[in-house]
Symmetry: C2
């Protein structure tokens, strides 16, 4: 099944637009896990098992694993999601982008090595830099458009012939890059009006929306501006607010409770 099919089925099955981001930081792990040699895998797998029925996707962030030399834990974690929770898509948050020959190696890293269903990508290098991802009709190519951080405006908001760069990016991707219907865009929850402008350009293209929870984005505003005509279209991602909801032996139950609260806050606004 393609990423887009499994995403749509996951939306329907879970009734949830919530995506849990998996950003392991060992210093914040519960004490009883911290000394285990497989702490990164054990922590993330426990979060996954506690929240899988509440989410439409999981999103491991690769830098958190790479900085710890924990590529092996990331491989095992994604394999575990596929095995234990089949049908829940895995978005590898890697923000890759490089020229042709190298882009193929990044695609191989994401799809062959890690078995991700989709990957986040940076569009600055242009279409040929992401072609090895676009041509994989079964996989999702989720391109940065308007990011949630304060500095996102430095270039993304520059006026390019009467409209901001991020809208030119959105329109170019929707018009020229999406022949296989496998593109999505990243738009931060911290800019709900800009989310609405992107939605107006891209029809039902899914939007990955980080920035609720720890970054303070407003769920109601995200839904008002971001939902598509079918009342779906959003992958609303929270990481720290779920992962580190508790720091005791019951951390997974605390994470489940935080995920359930977010899921219900989203459901209430739909």
């Amino acid at each position: 099944m393609s990423f887009m099919q499994s995403l749509r089925q996951a939306w329907a099955r879970s009734g949830s637009l919530l995506c849990v981001g998996l950003d392991p930081e060992p210093a914040r792990f519960p004490a009883h896990l911290r000394e285990r040699p497989d702490a990164v895998f054990a922590f993330c797998a426990a979060i996954v098992d506690a929240t899988a029925d509440l989410v439409c996707a999981f999103k491991p962030q690769i830098a958190h694993f790479a900085a710890l030399r924990a590529e092996d834990a990331l491989e095992r974690l994604i394999a575990h999601i596929h095995d234990a929770h089949p049908g829940v898509p895995v978005i590898l948050d890697a923000k890759r982008g490089d020229i042709g020959s190298t882009a193929r190696h990044y695609a191989s890293e994401a799809f062959e090595r890690y078995r991700a269903d989709a990957v986040t990508l940076n569009p600055y290098l242009g279409r040929d830099s992401v072609e090895p991802f676009l041509e994989r009709a079964d996989k999702g190519a989720i391109l940065l458009c308007r990011t949630s951080n304060p500095g996102g405006a430095d270039f993304q908001a520059l006026d390019c012939g009467g409209e901001p760069l991020y809208l030119r990016v959105a329109e170019t991707i929707a018009r020229d890059w999406n022949a296989h219907g496998n593109c999505a865009l990243v738009v931060g929850a911290t800019w709900p009006e800009e989310l609405g402008k992107v939605r107006a350009r891209v029809g039902t293209m899914p939007l990955l929306v980080p920035g609720i929870g720890a970054q303070g984005g407003d769920v109601a505003a995200v839904l008002r501006h971001g939902l598509d005509a079918d009342g779906n279209g959003l992958i609303i991602s929270a990481s720290r607010a779920v992962l580190y909801a508790g720091d005791g032996e019951d951390f997974a139950a605390a994470a489940r409770e935080a995920a359930r609260t977010l899921r219900e806050a989203i459901a209430a606004g739909r």
Copy 2:
């Protein structure tokens, strides 16, 4: 010693603006190496040892290692360069870019884990996304500006208030991001006139110039447009044209000969 100091010393010592990119592709390795369990390290280390006196820097490309599960070989390779060829700076070509908390993990990956002296970065997410790199005065932050690939124009050439995006990027970085004097820019050899426009904005800021060799960039035009007022300022990178110059047991000697030819072609045009 900081990256910028070691780069300037390497320019002076080697008399070379050439940087050899380390992009291992096992299918192109000489037959006698291909079956060795440490083929990736052995191949790259042999290239390094055969060319170290001819270059101003080495530039390993991380995707080529990651797609092969060869992070360990990359760590060993960079350690080998530091040990066997002290003073030759190592640029980790990773094109990273992510928001604050994650950017710190990418910086840790590049500088603590891999011990790189500099890293390539994507500016699309804005200043705060690269702040953990900028604040490391001892390390180099080499930001994408005008890339060598055909699709580079898709967004980089968009008119932003009377000038193309890549020049706005160059100017913003030179003016606002370079407080520690540790920034450099990537400008492809395939666009020598645009290289000249960037040079006119950024003074003596170093420019990393890929695209000669296999991609066909014109060395004389690169020098004419890209040299700084001191006759330096360029890190001219070639990968495949050096790495795969030979495919027999004498591959390292063939790589040395290819590097020497490129170095002399560059020297002739200065």
